[in-house]
């Protein structure tokens, strides 16, 4: 019994000494607000973005599609799954299986949606499945950015997600099966190392330095309506991950954390 306690205490210490880092499914493209249409690159990487740390192997996604909406036109969905090509993405500490593709964007909103294959997290003993969304715009004509796409877990923006200046707030609503999730826990990370698409790697240089581990992974909670608010302190991409929105969800007989991730890009006022 004593041995067990010592072992447990040791494990706790080990767990506590590990830096606070969160898994974030990325859908990366360099710009969220483009002036002109054309072909844009997309990379799907499952990583720890603040530290550009351990990058997890992604399986073949269940779904990857884009919904294009422009003005009052009916949104149109296009399947991008067949266009995905497997790549190896290099982090600062390892490399992992990722995906990339290209997409030709004309005017309006383009909402990219990814439903990944669940990832087995050995350290935690459960699967992680982060349904992820990124909204970009071409030319400034808005579409249906404020409407839910209908993902099982989803963050719906309450502010136009591609028009945020640095210092603005971002507000979103966390949904599970279309219904708000009161008090949802949301982790936030900054994309601190620029993804280099040509090298399929993160840049070594960090844009910001965390004075302490708490700042690497910020945590906030949604209110009773599932709404959260975040003041954006720095330009660049920010990821929001609402965690474990379906606590009873399992995959292959094991616990699976069903999360909703969304990325937004803020721009400096110059």
């Amino acid at each position: 019994m004593k041995k067990k306690i010592v072992l447990f205490a040791g494990m706790m210490l080990l767990a506590m000494s590990l830096p606070a880092m969160a898994h974030f499914q990325m859908i990366y493209t360099p710009e969220a607000a483009l002036n002109k249409g054309g072909k844009i690159p997309l990379a799907l990487v499952f990583t720890h973005p603040f530290e550009a740390g351990h990058t997890m192997d992604m399986g073949k996604p269940e779904q990857f599609f884009v919904v294009r909406s422009r003005g009052e036109n009916t949104p149109k969905k296009t399947d991008l799954l067949p266009t995905l090509k497997p790549v190896i993405w290099t982090s600062l500490t390892n490399s992992g299986a990722a995906w990339e593709t290209g997409y030709t964007a004309r005017g309006g909103d383009h909402t990219f949606c990814l439903i990944p294959d669940p990832y087995w997290e050995e350290g935690d003993g459960f699967f992680i499945k982060q349904n992820t969304k990124v909204i970009i715009n071409v030319g400034g004509e808005p579409g249906a950015w404020m409407e839910p796409v209908g993902l099982p877990t989803e963050i719906v923006p309450l502010c136009k997600p591609y028009d945020r200046w640095t210092g603005n707030v971002f507000q979103g609503q966390v949904l599970f099966n279309g219904k708000p999730v009161p008090g949802a826990e949301i982790e936030i990370e900054y994309m601190n190392h620029k993804p280099l698409l040509d090298k399929k790697a993160f840049a070594k240089e960090a844009a910001a330095k965390a004075p302490q581990d708490s700042f690497v992974l910020q945590t906030i909670f949604a209110d009773v309506n599932g709404v959260f608010t975040f003041g954006i302190p720095k330009q660049g991409w920010w990821g929001f991950a609402a965690l474990d929105l379906d606590p009873d969800y399992t995959h292959k007989g094991k616990k699976c954390s069903r999360d909703a991730v969304m990325w937004i890009k803020a721009v400096d006022m110059k």
Binding site: G38, R70, G71, N73, R106, G107, E141, P142, G143
Partner: protein, 109 residues
């Protein structure tokens, strides 16, 4: 009281008409054209507030301003036409202060 009401209503009307006229300028007309790669061009129009451009007049002119063809934005706020054989420009004519010109030289796939 009646006089007050009349004044109140006319002030209200003035205010409303001001609102309407300023609303017209509160959004920016937008129009982008793309070469479809099959000798046709598609222009997509709209406004920065997301409102439809359906019915907006579209003109294609040569560089001297001579009209080559004319049409209207369809219900999806799109206008497609055969690519002219001469240098051209496309004008989205949303009324005074709401025109957008696209130079054919800059229209790519």
């Amino acid at each position: 009281m009646i006089r007050f009401n009349t004044r109140f209503i006319s002030t209200g009307l003035l205010g409303l008409s001001l609102c309407f006229s300023s609303a017209v300028y509160a959004h920016t007309p937008l129009c982008s054209c793309y070469d479809n790669g099959d000798n046709t061009i598609t222009c997509e129009g709209g406004f920065s507030d997301g409102s439809s451009a359906s019915g907006v007049e579209m003109r294609v002119e040569d560089k001297s301003g001579k009209q080559l063809l004319k049409g209207k934005m369809n219900e999806d706020s799109e206008f497609s036409f055969d690519k002219p054989s001469v240098p051209y420009k496309v004008i989205f004519d949303g009324g005074e202060g709401h025109a957008v010109e696209n130079d054919g030289d800059e229209i790519v796939e």
